[in-house]
């Protein structure tokens, strides 16, 4: 009896092995196409999808550009799949590029369906193409014959990301669509003349719709406000140019007569790179401060004009304004928001040269 039971258990255990293989409709990696970049545009309620698929062959990897038009994005991907000898798997999609016109009509549906299907990673980066998307992809395809990750590296922190480029992911856009207090900025890119890609600033997205844009240098402040590092950014003023080494922010919020008021303090550590003439350290500080304050004021103004809170200032008022009222943050509170930016600059070092200014060092 005992041996029979043991035998039964062993047979059962061996049966488990068959399931453990997980070989269910399994496709080996060489039968999969893993696109890295997807482009989406919409013309007259028809989607047009661009997929950049790396293909490895005898002489290294080459990239292939596939396009198709259809009713829904999934249908198009499926059709591309059936026309290819391998199956298209969106699992490793890194960057999704929307055409500007489509972004202005609203991305909400696409983003929700990406989140729903789970086939596309919620971490995929999103960018908006500031020109005809067909032209953009042709350019990208021509220039990146051998290196398929150009667009991805453009946004990658340990590769080519610069502090003037916004970074936004699918899940962040989904969050902003359903949030009372937070909109989002999506990087705007276009094909460059001498470089492959050119940074064209940041698109202001409200409820998933692109409503406006801010230039690249304002994006720096947008990133700094979101606690992203501005390290490496070079600020050019009339008398000097400095490199930002470190940035941190502090906020103080109050409600004054029902109008929100935020006092933000940005603390910059900079190092001097170039000077023109003999400016004193104080002059450099003053110039930097007035330049940033002016820029910030402009950014807030254009945000308020579009009622889009891409900085997420409303988040700071969550414990000041009750939830029912917060639902009207964008329309009632945000346009009345008053912002004071205080820039505190520390000149950490002056490079190898002394700045000969005894008067300013008290």
């Amino acid at each position: 009896m005992k041996t029979r039971l043991l035998l039964l258990k062993m047979v059962l255990a061996i049966c488990c092995l068959f399931i453990l293989g997980g070989c269910w409709d399994n496709r080996d990696i060489n039968h999969r196409s893993l696109p890295i970049v997807m482009g989406i545009s919409r013309v007259d309620s028809m989607y047009k999808v661009f997929l950049m698929i790396p293909e490895s062959g005898q002489d290294g990897t080459k990239s292939m550009l596939v396009t198709r038009t259809g009713q829904t994005i999934t249908e198009i991907v499926d059709e591309i799949s059936s026309n290819m000898e391998s199956r298209v798997d969106l699992l490793h999609l890194k960057v999704i590029v929307f055409e500007r016109k489509y972004a202005e009509e609203g991305l909400a549906d696409s983003v929700s369906s990406f989140i729903r299907s789970r086939e596309i990673s919620a971490k995929a980066l999103v960018a908006i193409c500031d020109e005809d998307i067909g032209k953009f992809f042709d350019h990208l395809h021509k220039e990146t014959e051998t290196d398929q990750t150009v667009l991805y590296n453009f946004f990658e922190k340990n590769a080519g990301l610069s502090p003037t480029v916004a970074v936004s992911r699918i899940w962040e856009i989904f969050r902003s669509i359903h949030s009372y207090t937070r909109d989002i900025g999506i990087p705007l890119i276009r094909s460059g003349t001498s470089t492959i890609i050119e940074n064209a600033g940041t698109a202001i997205i409200q409820h998933g719709r692109m409503v406006g844009q801010i230039p690249a240098d304002e994006t720096l402040l947008f990133n700094a406000f979101n606690e992203r590092s501005a390290y490496g950014r070079i600020e050019v003023m009339n008398h000097a140019s400095v490199i930002i080494l470190d940035n941190s922010m502090k906020h103080h919020v109050t409600l004054k007569n029902g109008a929100p008021y935020i006092r933000s303090q940005i603390h910059l550590k900079v190092s001097i790179l170039e000077t023109r003439g003999h400016p004193s350290l104080d002059t450099i500080k003053d110039e930097l401060e007035s330049q940033l304050t002016e820029r910030f004021r402009k950014m807030i103004k254009s945000m308020q004009q579009h009622e889009a809170d891409i900085l997420g200032v409303g988040q700071y008022f969550r414990n000041k304004i009750p939830r029912e009222q917060l639902a009207h943050w964008r329309s009632e509170y945000f346009p009345r928001l008053r912002v004071d930016l205080v820039v505190k600059t520390t000149i950490q070092n002056e490079g190898n040269l002394k700045t000969d200014n005894i008067n300013t060092r008290q």
Binding site: K157, W171, S179
Partner: protein
């Protein structure tokens, strides 16, 4: 021999196996702000019930729940244990289905559900067909292997949180108490097995009580990670908010692109432990009802078949939701009636003993 450590580890693991799935969904569904109030209320209630339950059990040295009830007649036993039996079987089959659904949603999208469920059922059948000591030893082994990984994922899950979503910290809205969804959240608590493992496994009730408090951070994390990452309104849109929140973690140096898979593979082992413990309790109940000639492994296999088949028979996720609703009532009945009845019986027996002397 005092095996409190094993019991504590298994207690923590089975809770970790279930708390990240249905619990956040139901808490987020029924609470709009200040989620910690509803989480702690539910936890404190269950903690109090464990206190009552183990206090009652401690009056009966070396007897398990069935020994105690059988002293007071078969009818009483049936009244108390039949609902428990039904509840545990239903719980096992519904959660096994929900779990398989999660797995297919996250990574095995082309594998049929029955295959995933069969795998879970076979392994848990194997564990529970061995004796209870083996189950608890397996628990310790799983804890040693997988617990550090779970901790790693939980720490990493804070990557995308925005602490402003914590506010407002207080809310005067207690309407969640009457929301049926709130009752569903109580599934993340299970302690009925404590009445069955004695006398084979002895434990110190005080240690269990105090160590079960360490579960509070996990309960809070399970709800607050999705709320802090997405915000209340967005988190309420997901079927499994915690899983989606883990999906957003971006670690470039890790070999896994999606850390979710990593996380699920760890918790699935805890879940198997949960199923096998649940079925073991049911086997203990059935053993008393059936003639002695029926061997235990057959009961275990039959029970797992029952769970597996009813798991397959569930049509869709809506039906899973519905069954959870139904089961919530059974849960409330069992988890209120059994601890208190044991406590009262313990009190009576002590008075009897006192008068006899």
């Amino acid at each position: 021999m005092d095996r409190s450590i094993q019991v504590i580890i298994v207690h923590i693991l089975i809770h970790l196996g279930i708390v990240f799935f249905i619990f956040p969904t139901s808490i987020i569904d029924c609470t709009k702000e200040a989620h910690w109030i509803s989480i702690l209320l539910s936890f404190l209630l269950h903690w109090f019930l464990i206190y009552i339950y183990t206090k009652g059990l401690s009056r009966f040295e070396g007897q398990n729940l069935m020994d105690i009830y059988l002293q007071y007649g078969k009818l009483l036993t049936a009244i108390f244990l039949l609902p428990l039996f039904v509840y545990l079987s239903m719980l096992a089959s519904v959660t096994i289905r929900a779990y398989a659904e999660t797995i297919s949603l996250v990574f095995l999208s082309y594998t049929p559900l029955w295959a995933t469920m069969l795998l879970i059922a076979i392994i848990s059948a194997f564990i529970s067909s061995l004796d209870i000591h083996a189950l608890f030893r397996t628990g310790v082994l799983m804890g040693v292997i997988f617990f550090p990984l779970i901790l790693f994922v939980l720490c990493m899950a804070f990557q995308n949180v925005d602490w402003h979503y914590v506010f407002p910290l207080w809310s005067n809205d207690f309407s969640f108490l009457t929301n049926p969804k709130y009752m569903e959240s109580t599934f993340a608590c299970g302690f009925m097995y404590l009445g069955f493992i004695q006398p084979s496994i002895r434990y110190n009730r005080k240690k269990i009580l105090w160590w079960s408090i360490t579960l509070i951070p996990f309960y809070l994390i399970a709800v607050y990670i999705p709320v802090l990452t997405f915000g209340e309104d967005t988190a309420a849109k997901f079927y499994f908010p915690f899983i989606t929140a883990v999906d957003t973690i971006d670690i470039t140096w890790l070999m896994f692109d999606r850390i979710t898979m990593f996380f699920l593979l760890c918790t699935v082992t805890f879940f198997m432990l949960f199923v096998s413990l649940t079925v073991w309790v049911n086997t203990e109940i059935l053993k008393r009802c059936l003639p002695k000639t029926v061997r235990t492994p057959y009961i275990v296999i039959a029970l797992h078949l029952l769970i597996f088949i009813s798991g397959i028979k569930i049509r869709d996720l809506q039906e899973v939701d519905f069954l959870f609703d139904v089961n919530a009532w059974l849960h409330t009945y069992n988890y209120l009636v059994i601890p208190f009845s044991i406590y009262i019986l313990g009190w009576i027996s002590r008075r009897k003993a006192a008068t006899a002397v």
